[in-house]
Symmetry: C2
Subunit: 141 residues, 2 copies
């Protein structure tokens, strides 16, 4: 886990990581949310609607931004304040996603950074893009 | 589950539901994301940072918007296109949240609706507010 303070960060700083979306994640997300929408749960229904398999919940893909902020950039001192996300392409179980964040703004007086974020699949197709505003907490030792 | 088509929806239409945030949800969200940030995992660390207990992941609270769209408004035909969310106040395990969405725009030609969403806790304090743009899929029987 990274532990960047507001003074350690710079414009253009980037972090990224990979994650494979699994059936287990889809099931765990269902158990949390009870979102029983058949597009995400029923292969036959998904097929009837033009998808080769159930579509991963968009908010499941978005949940990896929690990891991006809380583990990578800035890491420990992260407190997400807001997100603006577009779900550009569908994600499926088995997809290997690359989650990337880049610092585009630093507002030291209010201890806030802005990340531009992109999530791509194995074919390098963008599936999600967005902006995350993150508070960088003060050191307390 | 609701099954509103684009023609069934109207400006001002509202849906809401309650959900209690649990330790099990926090653990399941951790297992999905591997967001090991101690603010969400370590009671002692949370206390040192001024919180009575670990703070629920913001993106966990946001995940209930999947349910709002996919089960309630519009329900089955939902496909979330984008979200803009502000995390206004911290959420904790044990909090009973009320998740509300209201239709503020309908763009029938592109089969899109816009929801204003608010999540409040038991004290009626807003913890999240936002805007969700949702595609309403065509009927295929």
């Amino acid at each position: 886990m990274n532990r960047y303070g507001i003074g350690d960060l710079f414009i253009g700083q980037k972090e990224s990581f990979q994650v494979v979306v699994t059936e287990e994640m889809m099931e765990a997300f269902y158990r949390i949310t009870k979102d029983e929408n058949p597009l995400h749960r029923d292969p036959e229904y998904a097929a009837e609607n033009g998808y080769s398999q159930p579509v991963a919940y968009g908010m499941l893909t978005a949940s990896f931004l929690s990891t991006l902020a809380g583990v990578y950039l800035p890491g420990e001192k992260s407190l997400i304040q807001s997100v603006e996300l577009k779900f550009v392409k569908p994600v499926f179980s088995g997809d290997e996603l690359t989650v990337t964040g880049e610092v585009t703004e630093i507002h030291e007086s209010v201890r806030q950074i802005v990340l531009k974020t992109v999530i791509t699949n194995r074919e390098n197709v963008k599936v999600l893009k967005g902006i995350i505003k993150i508070g960088v907490r003060d050191e307390r030792e």
